[in-house]
Point group: C2
Chain length 343, copies 2
């Protein structure tokens, strides 16, 4: 691999002149610039950017911790990150953590060992352990989607509580009184916020909260399917099921159909995220649309702002959501609670 010294030698100038000719052409004479460019061409010179990064102390890499890259929603977030990172001259180092904190720690270390300048976390967990560096400065981390309770870090988030309340109100407005919720992992703040929103709406409508109508899930299609089975087997099944993501809702839809019940005539189903498949579900899914790509691009933009010193305090960016009403939700059945015909 040819280096800058080879170029300098061939061009008959110093390495400093070569560097200047390439980086600040206005500082060198036209003659020198021409000689340098010719020599660069001749030896096929490509500057070793690793050396530049090392010298400058900036890797221009950003670590991204993603619980599951194969998740449709996260894939969109990554897509948005990628776009903005490229625009700002950063590359993304992708880490598929699968919720494993050891893996998170390994990648977080890339920041501490100068392999990356900053980190974006899509889960409510701080992989660094503390919020500041040894010298007390803010760690270059942005938290998006599911955010930490303590607000030491810049965050990009949806008002999950309000969104869940909006969806629940939509279902209430259709006359539903027994509304089940298929939740995400128990401990996540995201799930807690959405549960709060759900309860807010119930309380406002004067409906008692029923623990039986809460069903755990893990955001997978299968967990939705299982949750629906549980809910349908209740002595008093719900007339509407609100799922914390679209995958689970699609699983729920399948299970309900397998029971011979109709959606939304017998039971309404709602999701969250508005992934592309939601509109192609049968019936098309009522859901909360999140600006997934914007989560990614905003997170990257914030992180770059921090890295370049344009941001002093940790901001909290709240992105808008939208209730998307499709055919999977409809008026609550007026008759007695429907009974499964099979399954």
């Amino acid at each position: 691999m040819s280096n800058i010294r080879a170029v300098a030698e061939l061009a008959g100038v110093s390495v400093a002149s070569v560097s200047r000719a390439l980086q600040q052409p206005e500082l060198v004479s036209a003659k020198t610039k021409a000689k340098v460019l010719a020599a660069v061409e001749a030896v096929g010179y490509r500057p070793n950017l690793m050396a530049v990064k090392f010298r400058s102390g900036k890797s221009h890499n950003l670590v991204v911790l993603v619980p599951a890259v194969a998740n449709v929603f996260f894939a969109r977030v990554i897509s948005g990150m990628q776009q903005t990172a490229a625009e700002k001259g950063y590359a993304l180092l992708l880490a598929n953590t699968q919720g494993n904190q050891d893996i998170e720690a390994i990648y977080a270390k890339m920041v501490q060992t100068s392999q990356a300048d900053g980190l974006i976390q899509l889960r409510a967990h701080n992989p660094f352990g503390s919020a500041t560096t040894a010298d007390g400065s803010m760690l270059p981390m942005v938290n998006a989607c599911e955010v930490l309770d303590q607000q030491q870090f810049p965050t990009v988030v949806l008002d999950n509580r309000a969104a869940a309340r909006t969806m629940t109100e939509h279902l209430l407005s259709l006359g539903h009184r027994r509304i089940a919720m298929v939740k995400g992992p128990q401990r996540s703040p995201l799930t807690r916020d959405r549960l709060d929103g759900y309860r807010d709406a119930l309380t406002a409508a004067g409906i008692a909260f029923d623990e039986q109508l809460l069903c755990p899930g893990n955001f997978s299609l299968d967990s939705g399917h299982k949750a629906a089975a549980t809910l349908l087997s209740l002595s008093q099944p719900p007339t509407a099921i609100f799922c914390e993501n679209d995958e689970m809702a699609i699983g729920v839809v399948q299970r309900i159909k397998q029971s011979g019940l109709r959606i939304p005539e017998d039971i309404s189903v709602a999701g969250f995220d508005d992934i592309s498949f939601a509109a192609y579900c049968d019936p098309p899914l009522t859901t909360i649309a999140q600006p997934a790509e914007e989560f990614g691009s905003t997170a990257v933009a914030l992180l770059v702002d921090i890295l370049q010193g344009r941001l002093k305090k940790a901001p909290k960016v709240i992105l808008p959501y939208e209730l998307v009403i499709r055919a999977s939700t409809g008026p609550a059945p007026t008759t007695a609670a429907p009974q499964p015909t099979r399954g």
Copy 2:
């Protein structure tokens, strides 16, 4: 940020001893090692791995060019890459190319500028322009999923021709004689191979090829929906539609239902990939299962083998596929071709 010299000073030893104590502890005395480790702890030393990479000339980064990270299938491939890369001590630099060759070129340059050691391409395109470096050695690239015609690069691929033939034969065995195909982008070798397999099966069954039954698509849900509309409006519509991926098949399914036709009684639909949503489609989708994660892990393993000099010639790895028969395909209708009732 503390460096190795600070540690050396505090420990009262040379920088070489510090380096050895951390990298080849068997070379230093127990006493020195203890002093060094204490000093490391005291100053909170983290080796600057950027410096190490620079010095060694190995970045231990791999660039991955993905047409669309938000695509469900590719997301799984990335997931597999991530896993294997982490095991082998490499990090993934993710590039979302969206088919844009300029973006590909920018990221390919990361290899040439030593920011990455190698590259994985998921499309049939060589972002480097040539197959060898200036000195004639093989470029560190692996091509997966959709592969280049010329075989200068190691490739990981499905026997798409055989897979398409298998699916077509499945449909033929159900009595279908008018089998449509919803294709991917025209110029891709992947689409060409699958078309060849489709024609192989038709020829073997003595059925004439009908150009009208080929429908272009772009692997999106929407393009499947549109393709179905076109196919249903034919004077003689197909009795089965074979789509080159599951997204398009799901789009096709929706459009067919909107026409009031039943699947599979009136028309059969088949996909390709076996994404998780395929099993949750209504009816569940017959498809070709591809080992997506294995594409990723194999591609990374091959690339690392190249980088570490364990691989001299470019191998071609062919991964297995599996015909997954679900409810979206069934016997061809025995009556006259069904007519749309609405839509």
